[in-house]
């Protein structure tokens, strides 16, 4: 007899986890499944980490509506869920006179989309606001609602708050198909057995096309993964004050240079359409393009100060915009399709997907209400996800207090980012626990600095083994067969025999 849920969310990216958190407010039995060993390890872990103000999406598109609706929700979310978030505003920077006219077009689109707090700046003002900007700047568009965040932190905090409020999360659980009773979805099949439900939410990101096709919905819909490569520049070299976009191209917002909540500078992304939903390789051509794009905005960018490279895939779809008269075919899908009952269908959630995620989650709640669900609020729903101590952000006196309670917060394991053993252990025993090195890395930022884990890796491996009660040989980078250590040395093998 499969376990019975009111709602099953397929996919543990930022959209799935945010939806779980919003739905956890109501008296519903909810399951979220994620095929990877950790939540937020796809697109949500590898993106530009920005909350966009909403001047970029085409007026009339669902993207524009949800992006603009979501922006005012972030401040409150950040204070409830305690993730890293900084409302620094953002800039679109025109370099050279020929790019200048494009700023006004963006500004006008922002006005039409209902974006508040935008202003066109002179080149002089831009140079004063960001001394590192290319001196050939000809003008800039400033939007005060732009913000940066830690996107994995957002996803994790939403997931943990959902779990605190009764949601079950099963990781390493892959969707295989729907169980139907006529036109009604009554459950799902997974690699870990069947689960029945009244509602399934397709939040499968890059795989959202495959999930909806399993339900017979939108057979023409297709995700074309769009790869973006990135470089990270050491904060010790320089730190940008804010977020700097180039004037956008036809396919993307272009290669930007942005500050991050870590203080490092991120450059990227490229935009390359591909078939493969898993190919996140970095390429010499991609990295060269990122470097050139970054240098165009910030000439101080120097290849010698790169501390990390990565790539992510955007879940770009081909859904036509439903607003009459708006010709656009890469819109978000947020719907309850008519052809099947019991499915909330989300698809094509590419950029600005992270920015829009709270509004998408709210829209899912509204769609369920419209479909006749009487959503009753839980009396004991707790919107607060408490922050855990982060050593690097504490004053010395606060550090002393934390260490007095648990001395493991006194031992620094990651030198570059000052992450302590206490923080690592807390993440291994949290509501959505870390069970791999990358899980620890994403939660604590350990190993993200200059040495990229060279010092901490053996130490974290040891801590993971000890806390999880497994052998160090079983500790992995990102689950499954991504293990670090393949056997003991001869001396240890001999001693064990």
């Amino acid at each position: 007899m499969p376990e019975n849920y009111d709602v099953i969310i397929i996919g543990g990216g930022v959209v799935g986890c945010m939806t779980a958190r919003f739905l956890s407010r109501y008296q519903l039995k909810i399951l979220l499944i994620e095929k990877e060993e950790d939540i937020g390890s796809g697109t949500s872990a590898a993106n530009t980490a920005l909350i966009h103000p909403g001047y970029d999406p085409l007026t009339g598109s669902l993207k524009a509506a949800l992006n603009v609706a979501a922006v005012p929700m972030w401040q409150q979310l950040a204070s409830e869920l305690n993730f890293a978030y900084e409302n620094c505003g953002d800039y679109v920077v025109a370099i050279g006179e020929e790019e200048l006219p494009k700023l006004d077009a963006l500004y006008q689109r922002g006005i039409r989309n209902g974006v508040p707090g935008m202003r066109l700046l002179s080149a002089d003002e831009m140079r004063v606001r960001e001394p590192l900007i290319n001196p050939l700047v000809s003008g800039a568009l400033f939007a005060e609602t732009g913000a940066m965040c830690d996107p994995f932190g957002v996803t994790l905090a939403a997931a943990e708050n959902a779990v605190m409020n009764g949601v079950t999360i099963l990781r390493g659980t892959a969707f295989e198909g729907f169980i139907r009773d006529g036109a009604r979805i009554i459950g799902i099949r997974t690699n870990r057995g069947d689960f029945s439900c009244r509602w399934a939410v397709n939040a499968a990101g890059l795989y959202s096309d495959m999930v909806m096709h399993q339900a017979g919905v939108r057979p023409e819909f297709r995700i074309t993964p769009r790869k973006g490569e990135y470089l990270i520049i050491d904060r010790a070299e320089f730190q940008l004050k804010s977020v700097y976009f180039p004037v956008p191209t036809a396919v993307s917002k272009g290669i930007l240079a942005t500050a991050t909540v870590h203080g490092n500078t991120v450059l990227g992304p490229t935009a390359l359409d591909q078939e493969d939903k898993t190919d996140k390789t970095n390429t010499p051509e991609g990295l060269a393009e990122v470097l050139a794009g970054g240098k165009k905005l910030v000439p101080a960018v120097d290849v010698r100060h790169v501390i990390a490279i990565f790539a992510g895939l955007r879940a770009a779809g081909n859904a036509p915009c439903e607003t009459p008269g708006v010709s656009y075919n890469q819109d978000f899908i947020v719907e309850i399709p008519r052809s099947v009952q019991g499915l909330v269908n989300l698809g094509g959630i590419e950029s600005p997907g992270l920015s829009s995620s709270p509004a998408i989650a709210k829209r899912v709640v509204d769609l369920l209400k419209d479909a006749g669900e009487t959503l009753k609020e839980k009396k004991d729903w707790d919107p607060i996800h408490p922050a855990r101590p982060q050593f690097r952000h504490l004053t010395h006196d606060q550090r002393r207090q934390v260490i007095a309670k648990d001395d493991r917060y006194g031992r620094v394991v990651c030198r570059c980012e000052n992450v302590t053993e206490g923080e690592i252990i807390a993440e291994i025993h949290s509501p959505v626990p870390a069970c791999s090195y990358d899980g620890i890395k994403r939660r604590t930022w350990l190993g993200t600095g200059r040495c990229q884990g060279g010092f901490d890796l053996p130490r974290v491996t040891h801590i993971l083994a000890r806390e999880l009660g497994i052998s160090e040989l079983e500790v992995s980078k990102k689950g499954a067969v991504s293990r670090f250590l393949l056997r003991p040395t001869k001396e240890i093998e001999a001693a064990n025999e």
């Binding site: 470089l231 990270i232 010790a236 898993t278 996140k280 390789t281 970095n282 390429t283 010499p284 990295l287 290849v303 010698r304 790169v306 501390i307 990390a308 490279i309 990565f310 010395h396 550090r399 002393r400 260490i403 007095a404 001395d407 493991r408 006194g410 031992r411 620094v412 030198r415 570059c416 000052n418 302590t420 053993e421 200059r450 040495c451 990229q452 884990g453 060279g454 010092f455 890796l457 053996p458 040891h462 160090e472 040989l473 992995s476 980078k477 990102k478 499954a480 067969v481 991504s482 293990r483 670090f484 250590l485 393949l486 056997r487 003991p488 040395t489 001869k490 001396e491 240890i492």
Partner: protein
């Protein structure tokens, strides 16, 4: 909270730090403290179980831990204090430190003289921007060395090593002892980046191929490394199309250079040389910040530990004198600069008055290899102060030129000392 005061505080207990602490004690500093982030004194020497240490200092060929033990014992006998399992969080230009540890929490320390001896860290995959996937199985050689020699685990069974640095070559041999297959060592440059003796003893003796002017084009494998694609490069490091080769392996080790670890030094206002990555130092190993000294690989990457020990002694002695108010102010500072075919020289400045009291070792790295007899010369103005002949000069091997007291008078007349390495 009151801060504890010391005459000399040394950050790091590798060979540079231990020698500095010992020399500080022997030169009159009473309260000497060494701070070490690991559980034991000795630094990276503890994972260097191969031999080759001490040939210059002890005229003996010792493994790393044995070499370290001699200094650990001497430091203990001299009553050098040690804070183990402790990380320095902050260092200021007035030599105040904040340290954290499980046992002591956050402690504030004040040093009359401070010695940075943090050594260096390894260059990573990102710093050489290796393309491809990001699976488990890409490690720096030093991380693998710790796993094998200290923790007792093998991080792979079939290896490719990128970079012909010393740690990589030494690990090639160590992994072979452990039954692993080391497919080959790839080096992007047309010459070895480590010591020739390591090439002979670690690669040649075990039949491990070294391919010069080759690099990794991409890493293959999503969960664990499955193979790497290698490629030959031309003289401008550009890949040569058609030379690609897929090499199946489960691990890629990186031995692509070391970077002096100077985050604390920067905090303390110490100016760094962009070429070495370490502080500008004078012949006392004092940085631009008075009372702040630097010893060992934190200054520049040495080829032999014995020279690190010697530098540690000099820095420790100078720091002890500074703490006692006895370190003479330089009469003048002569700038030492890298001339023909020299990449850098340490120290960066010399006080001719100090030279009059004793020889000063100038240590440098050659820019381009010369496989023929060379002159190493020091020139002040148009005057050649000293020179020595060497059978060859290679980037992987440091060159030392001793400046003798006799040269002090000539140097006194000059502002600049230029070092050249040229064919005889």
């Amino acid at each position: 909270m009151n801060s504890r005061e010391y005459d000399v505080v040394v950050v790091g207990s590798g060979p540079g730090g231990l020698a500095a602490a010992i020399a500080a004690k022997k030169n009159g500093a009473e309260q000497v403290l060494v701070i070490e982030r690991d559980l034991e004194l000795g630094g990276i020497l503890l994972q260097c179980i191969h031999n080759g240490f001490g040939v210059e200092v002890f005229k003996e060929d010792l493994p790393g831990p044995s070499y370290a033990q001699r200094f650990i014992k001497e430091a203990r006998d001299l009553k050098v204090e040690a804070l183990l399992d402790s990380m320095v969080l902050e260092a200021s230009s007035d030599r105040r430190l904040f340290v954290t540890s499980r046992q002591g929490g956050i402690q504030e320390l004040q040093a009359k003289a401070l010695i940075f001896a943090m050594g260096c860290r390894e260059r990573t995959r990102a710093q050489v921007r290796l393309p491809g996937t990001r699976p488990a199985g890409v490690f720096t050689a030093g991380t693998a060395q710790r796993w094998v020699n200290v923790e007792g685990f093998m991080p792979g069974k079939r290896f490719v090593i990128l970079g012909s640095g010393d740690i990589g070559m030494i690990m090639a041999r160590r992994l072979t002892f452990e039954g692993a297959k080391v497919e080959r060592v790839l080096e992007i440059m047309p010459y070895l980046s480590g010591l020739t003796r390591n090439y002979v003893q670690c690669l040649q003796d075990y039949g491990i191929p070294l391919q010069l002017q080759h690099t990794v084009k991409r890493i293959i494998g999503n969960q664990r490394v499955e193979a790497i694609e290698s490629v030959a490069v031309d003289d401008r490091w550009q890949p040569i199309p058609g030379s690609e080769e897929i090499i199946p392996c489960d691990t890629l080790l990186l031995s692509v250079g070391l970077i002096p670890e100077n985050e604390l030094s920067r905090q303390a206002g110490v100016r760094l040389d962009p070429v070495t990555g370490g502080p500008f130092v004078d012949n006392r190993f004092q940085t631009n910040v008075p009372g702040v000294f630097a010893a060992g690989n934190v200054v520049h990457v040495y080829d032999l530990v014995d020279w690190v020990t010697e530098a540690g002694y000099e820095a420790g002695k100078s720091a002890a004198l500074f703490a006692q108010g006895k370190l003479a102010k330089p009469s003048k500072l002569v700038r030492v600069s890298a001339g023909e075919n020299v990449r850098y020289v340490v120290p960066h400045t010399i006080d001719p008055a100090a030279l009059a009291e004793g020889s000063i070792a100038l240590q440098m790295r050659v820019r381009q290899p010369i496989e023929a007899p060379v002159w190493v010369e020091a020139v002040a103005g148009s005057q050649q102060l000293t020179r020595r002949s060497l059978p060859y000069a290679r980037p992987g091997e440091m060159v030392t030129l001793n400046l003798k007291p006799e040269a002090a008078e000539e140097l006194q007349k000059s502002d600049k000392l230029v070092l050249n390495i040229r064919k005889r």
